[in-house]
Subunit: 451 residues, 2 copies
């Protein structure tokens, strides 16, 4: 046919491109996130993938800056967004007078980083962020709502054994203050942040090397590694109050957050104070979160965030404190898929495949319209193929029901439906077939995306 | 506070960035499209925004090529996708052996064209495509399913007065053949395509100028502008059969498509054969569609598509015929918004705003969890502000219900709800409040997005 040269079709490395049935699962997870964010009253916000480089790189971003996709188009110096936070900051500063605060927004979108390509690392990936931005101030109860959203999402997806780890940067800074370590705070925070990875003795050695006295290093490490109920950790922290205003404020915030998380209905097994959570970035100023799947700590945090004082300091003089969190959706999906945690029973693009057995397909077409009205995702196999090929199509796509429409069925105003899992096959009136299938779909609907 | 230099926040021109409440409406429209595509059994497919330039520009794209965002990253020549069809072709060719055909896929994603910026023209815009790809062949009934999907979408959105105009390129090519105009077919098609814009006499003049004899030009124009019922147009076309195999095939296809569209339940008012619809691209080889809002023909086609013989001829020697359509979602939304067609009653981010009147917010928090379980999108106003500021927040966000929780309510285990539209306010048990609100939301849920 075509005499053209064929170019080998290929995709850039580091760019996820899923097979059809995996994409169905990806969309289900994405949809769960969207629905949860909406349930808490967050606005969807969609900002451009491209921005002026000057805007995106207002904060010299170090490592990130080297990874940015940046180019000229006409006389414009343009870059692709590398996260959803910088565009949010621009958006809020730009639309300040049109926004009603507190401003709750979610964003699920692709971001770009030219990282070194390796397994499980992506150059184009989805982030799924929520943030609550105040105008001048923002209630601490918001800091408790975020973990409740994290809990709802992971529970809805089917995960149960996960822990949201909580801390407060003011507690840490206060501890440093009362030990005369204010000036080393950033260094110490960075060392502490690695404690899970490098272990206690290496952490202690690094602390001492950075100028911390041995007894203070011991105290800090004892606190950071202190595991107990939230009540007992708070009681222990209370014994340190009265020495640093920063610490006292942090202690009160942490106490409030723990109190309200419970009120939001999050079971106490799923959140716990962990004084070693520091979150490297100097961006955070209060509450910080990380979320771990208990069986797989090696995955690292699947959802992180915290409280910050100034969202948009590079674009406005307004004080815009906020609290938020981010899920690295592409990486999260990749890991779930690698571990075979995904429920492949939910990866079909349709609920039923109608297989017409006559040349005229008008009965199949009319019935398909009827099924869709009932909310049943319906496909018709329209090609002239042997029966085996038709039924194999339903099998390959794991469509749970096949519906056969032969001359007999059409004459008797009935349909034959086959449950593709059980093999059970019945010839009944359409109304009964719909009821049978709906019951089966309702059961399937109870299954979670993560096994 | 901050002593940093402030960079004026701004967005690149030609990039849509909506205010929060308009974004809610945009997402509702996008969701309607997704749900409809899923209801017909289409797979979601998500391909990268970035591809090798060699892949994206395999078909020298003329005007398009100049508009492409193209740059080097490392040693790679990269471009941003300018449509969703080329990435689909690459995807199908690349994954051919893993795909079960016919392959039904939808894609809703951003594409990029550096067009001259002007009002209503966008450089970053969403396309919302569906395609059905066959392996070697594809039943004509698929060509009837596409208009049924278009009909479902626009009806669900609230449009009723629209017309899907249908034609078949083989009918046109056959007519040219039988008039000895085979070689001029592309030119003639282009001229005919403009008939709605330039009018009959200018079209006739252009046809004659391009070498068409006057009597043939008259015959062609008479057919192209022939308005009648689908049955009568088909009857008229039948009188031309027997002279060209191409025409006869096209006539039969058009007849089949019209027959099955009716079976899909599309009312005859909403689709009509229009022999002037040619779709400029030489890509299409059979059925072609355009969709017009009857009161606003000046908008142009809001949804177009058709049948093609070779999806992926640049990437594979396999014959992959398909049929599909595309909605230019960003432009569609822009036009609806400009004409004030959007239902602003549906632009709230939440269904109810809980306004706590006590310092301790634990009752509000517990109740919010309960409301969300009932599927009610719930926000709590947590900030310490005057009552007026709190109620004004609900007003500004057009949240339909406010719920007040004062000491009395908490003591009596009741809640006060206020319908923000009617002003009606009652103090009742939570259960009753939920029932009242749900009834009201169900009514609101009946309203369509387009007024």
């Amino acid at each position: 046919m075509s005499k053209k040269n064929i170019i080998t079709p290929r995709t850039l490395s580091g760019f996820m491109e899923l097979p059809p049935q995996e994409q169905v699962l990806f969309e289900r997870i994405k949809r769960t996130l969207e629905e949860t964010y909406q349930m808490y009253g967050f606005f969807p916000i969609d900002t451009p993938v491209l921005e002026y480089s000057e805007i995106l790189l207002a904060k010299s971003a170090g490592e990130t800056e080297k990874q940015v996709y940046r180019f000229n188009k006409g006389d414009k110096d343009i870059a692709m967004r590398f996260d959803l936070t910088v565009p949010l900051a621009k958006y809020v500063a730009k639309n300040y007078s049109a926004i009603t605060f507190p401003f709750k927004r979610y964003a699920i979108g692709k971001v770009y980083r030219g990282e070194r390509a390796q397994k499980g690392r992506f150059r184009e990936f989805y982030q799924a962020d929520i943030d609550i931005i105040g105008d001048g101030s923002l209630s601490i109860v918001n800091d408790a709502e975020i973990p409740s959203i994290i809990y709802t999402i992971f529970t809805d997806l089917g995960l149960t054994d996960f822990t949201i780890r909580l801390n407060n940067r003011k507690v840490l800074n206060g501890l440093f203050e009362m030990n005369g370590l204010d000036e080393n705070a950033t260094d110490i925070m960075r060392i502490i942040d690695k404690i899970d990875k490098i272990g206690i003795s290496a952490t202690k050695a690094e602390l001492i090397e950075s100028g911390v006295a041995e007894d203070i290093a011991n105290t800090l490490i004892e606190l950071m590694t202190y595991k107990d109920t939230n009540e007992n950790i708070l009681a222990k922290l209370e014994t340190y109050t009265g020495k640093s205003a920063t610490f006292d404020l942090g202690y009160q915030e942490l106490k409030d957050v723990v109190y309200y998380i419970g009120k939001f209905g999050v079971p106490s097994d799923n959140y716990r104070i962990d004084l070693s959570i520091a979150r490297g970035l100097d961006y955070y100023t209060g509450t910080v979160y990380e979320t771990f799947v208990n069986d797989h700590p090696e995955i690292g945090s699947v959802c992180s965030g915290g409280r910050y004082d100034n969202l948009a300091e590079y674009y406005t003089k307004k004080s815009l404190p906020g609290v938020g969190m981010s899920i690295g959706l592409t990486r999260f999906f990749y890991v779930l898929n690698e571990y075979k945690y995904l429920n492949t029973k939910l990866n079909a693009p349709a609920d039923v495949l109608i297989i017409p057995m006559t040349d005229d397909m008008s009965s199949a077409v009319s019935i398909s319209a009827r099924l869709r009205e009932e909310g049943i995702r319906t496909q018709i196999y329209m090609e002239k193929k042997k029966f085996k090929a038709k039924i194999s199509y339903a099998n390959k796509l794991s469509i749970p029901y096949a519906m056969f429409l032969g001359e007999d069925e059409i004459k008797e105003e009935k349909v034959t439906i086959k449950n593709m899992y059980s093999g059970e096959q019945v010839t009944v009136e359409l109304k009964e077939a719909i009821a049978t299938m709906k019951k089966s779909f309702a059961e399937l609907g109870q299954e979670s995306i993560i096994k």
